[in-house]
């Protein structure tokens, strides 16, 4: 069985109508010597068997609900309300595709139109696409767009504090392009200036100052941000950003061992035609009724071919829907509360940890929900000890090229005081 309806009798009838005597005959265009090869794969499993098998594999992974969880670094353990799962699994959302036929796709189209609206509100930007694979590919496409928008410039400058894996991905995307990634100063060759705020180790930057710096050099300011932080922090749009990207995983998508995630991309009205990705617009039908459609398709690969703004086609539609439902579920007050709870709990945790003999805070200035701690012993050792107590204390920065004695701690609204106190108590014992 292969989820197929047709039985041998059906197939016989069909072959007769087609006018061939066997299914094999339909493959006569395939080189005979290569046709019907032997394929070695494990024997098929029935539904109860695969469920058991995968339950076992799942059980071999750490799972957030079994730990006091302080690991973030780009993927966050924010709460996903039950409504999100209940709604995105509706077959009409889950098993539709790109809304090419708007009359029978208003569900997807309106939901994404709402997503665009809400992300526009969060970021303070005019235009939002829907969507990119993750924050890093969104950022890479933003970098490319900045170069393409400012004709004669070819350089993109990175401010300090960008997540190292993001940098890797921009480098991959830049490989074939006549574009340069630089850690140096801004100059008259600089098309885009990338600032992550808060930085990947937690520090909150002065984005307005960064914007001035970019604009003084004639470059676009690209801000990559944590969308949850926008519950309390100033919107990048209000600070002068030209492009905003973000990782939307925190917005109801879940951790998923790092995928699917959600690449958020927003820019100003004047950049619409340079923007990659899908956009939904509102219009009217023959009777004057309001409806939504895919729009500005002339930018896209299937129309503009080699001159397209990007080759992106399938995106993270269902994750964007999750984010829309998440934001609408929390609403104005709830979303702010998530950000505030994360702030207060993180600051409580930071203060308590800083008080432990041998530990100190390395993040300079303000932070939001994540902060870097200097540890008295290698952070990997701490991780190894605490995981036995079902505490994941954060990211040993050495895993991503940082120092041995650096631990990146993340605290969100799901961490109770009790959990934080357990973490602190456990850290006290590690020396």
């Amino acid at each position: 069985m292969s989820f197929i309806s047709n039985m041998p009798k059906d197939r016989e009838m069909m072959l007769k109508k087609i006018g061939v005597s066997s299914v094999d005959e339909l493959f006569k265009d395939v080189p005979a010597d290569k046709r019907f090869p032997r394929v070695d794969m494990p024997k098929p499993l029935s539904e109860p068997e695969i469920l058991l098998e995968l339950s076992k594999l799942s059980a071999k992974n750490a799972s957030a609900e079994c730990y006091d969880w302080f690991l973030g670094a780009g993927v966050y353990n924010h709460f996903v309300p039950s409504v999100v799962g209940a709604l995105i699994t509706r077959g009409e959302f889950l098993t539709a595709y790109t809304p090419y036929q708007p009359e029978v796709s208003q569900g997807t189209l309106e939901a994404i139109f709402e997503y665009q609206t809400m992300i526009s509100e969060l970021t303070g930007m005019d235009v939002v696409n829907a969507s990119h694979y993750d924050g890093a590919t969104a950022l890479a496409e933003a970098a490319i767009m900045s170069v393409r928008s400012t004709r004669k410039r070819h350089k993109v400058v990175l401010a300090q504090g960008l997540h190292p894996e993001y940098r890797d991905i921009i480098e991959t995307y830049f490989q074939g392009l006549d574009m340069e990634l630089s850690d140096g100063d801004l100059d008259d060759q600089t098309a885009g200036y990338i600032v992550q705020n808060p930085t990947w180790t937690g520090e909150i930057l002065d984005v307005k100052a960064e914007a001035a710096k970019a604009h003084d050099a004639g470059a676009m300011l690209i801000v990559h941000t944590d969308p949850i932080s926008l519950g309390v922090l100033e919107a990048p749009g209000a600070c002068g950003a030209d492009i905003v990207t973000a990782e939307g995983q925190s917005l109801g998508v879940g951790m998923n061992w790092g995928g699917p995630m959600l690449g958020i991309f927003a820019t100003t009205q004047k950049n619409i035609r340079k923007m990659p990705g899908r956009i939904i617009g509102e219009t009217i039908d023959e009777r004057g009724n309001r409806g939504c459609v895919l729009t500005f398709a002339a930018r896209e690969q299937h129309i503009r071919r080699e001159k397209a703004t990007s080759n992106i086609c399938s995106n993270q539609g269902l994750a964007a829907l999750s984010a829309a439902i998440y934001l609408a579920a929390l609403g104005k007050s709830g979303f702010k509360k998530v950000a505030e709870l994360s702030w207060h709990k993180a600051h409580y945790a930071a203060a308590e940890i800083a008080r432990i003999d041998g530990f100190s805070l390395k993040t300079k200035g303000h932070f939001f929900k994540e902060f870097l701690v200097e540890t008295p012993v290698p952070a990997e050792d701490i991780f190894a000890k605490l995981k036995e107590k079902f505490i994941l204390p954060g990211l040993p920065l050495s895993r991503l090229g940082g120092g041995d004695k650096e631990l990146l701690v993340c605290v969100t609204e799901v961490n109770s005081k009790e959990q934080i106190d357990r973490l602190v108590a456990a850290l006290k014992e590690v020396k």
């Binding site: 197929i4 493959f27 594999l57 796709s105 699917p260 219009t283």
Partner: protein, 472 residues
Amino acid sequence: MSNLWKISGEGRSAVYLPGLDVPETPIPSELRRQEEPNLPEVAEMDLVRHYTNLSRRNFSIDTHFYPLGSCTMKYNPKVNEVTAALPGFRNAHPYQGDDLSQGAIELLYRMQEQLTAISGFEATSLQPAAGAQGELTGILMIRKYHEERGELEVRRKILVPDSAHGTNPATATMAGFQSKEIPSDKKGNIDLEALRAECDETLAGIMITNPNTLGLFEENIVEVIDAVHKAGGMVYGDGANFNAVMGIVKPGELGFDVMHYNVHKTFTGPHGGGGPGAGPVSAGAALKDYLPGPIAYKKGDGYELKQPPKTIGRMKLFYGNFGILVRGFTYISMLGAAGLREVTENAVLNANYLKALVADNFPAAYDRNCMHEFVCRGDIAPGIHTLDVAKRLIDYGFHPPTIYFPLIVPEAMMIEPTETESRETIEAFADALNKIADEAVNAPELLHNAPASTSVKRLDEAGAVKKPVLRY
């Protein structure tokens, strides 16, 4: 239609959050945003009612036949959703370490093996997030291959047959190549003469969609690959149509050097209204060391994640769209090799059957056995366009096929029924198409005014661009 903002009331929310249980730390006012984001404010019920009713305005596989050519809208088994939601998959973190991720890494490893086995390549990376990213991956691998051989300076050209997928030229551009279109011959194959003329020292490679977007298997595939290889070019396979050849032929054995898959097409990841997908890439001997990673490897009794030796780097964060991979792994593991071949056989059989049933009114653009889909034309009567036929199908309760693609067939309708549809459904759809052909002559206004059955009629797409309204 309800609008979340119109049904909002100040202070409403759908989520109960825990109270603050730690001392407050004041947020400095210079950091505070000046204006609060105007998010909707609704209780859980109003939220659920809004989205439930929105969903009911979609056609989908679960509700309607959806023969969208080239998108492989096959059924998505419900067991996939159960496995993908297992807590160790859904609530795991990419940085929790290999020792706390053994189940996930083992799954990657086993899926890499599955794909390698069915495709005849030597190694597989599951990292790319979607088909288009898989394409970019393949071309960047070809790029680095030439670069390491010192030939990149001259090898600037990627050939793209005019029957290839729409993303291919844009992909070549993103990898820094010039794309050059190769025409099809009158049988719908790559024009061999034209191809050979381009096979020179500037050739970096070719992107072949096989079967192509006409739904035809490239009859000269061996010659095509041979010509490209002889010129020093590499052969990329667009595996979006892999549903047509599983167990029938291994692309790796045909000589392809690298190929991507669409897990959300071939391996039943749900399409989700536009994604997420997953676009794993397999490669043969020449290119496998360039694969993006990390990739799963065996290590003692367990598994580990590592970058291949000459990797092009990371294509995206972490290890791919893992949740989609879990669904694909579930499906492949349930089918095995024989099941996957059965899929292909039935996909091709269904397409040929449908093609035969509508041949009188909608003859295929090329008179050959098709593979998993076929292309015909919708301008079947004076004043009737493909768009009219497509919209009229909606009134019969069917999602329209892909239209106006591929570009090489004017007024194209690209129809892919997939293997999961029953003979009866195929017949009902054929009946509808044949009736519409009759209406096109005898009652053309039914086509012009279609769809008549939906909550919105044809929408003013030009107006949407002229006066952009991109948010509430």
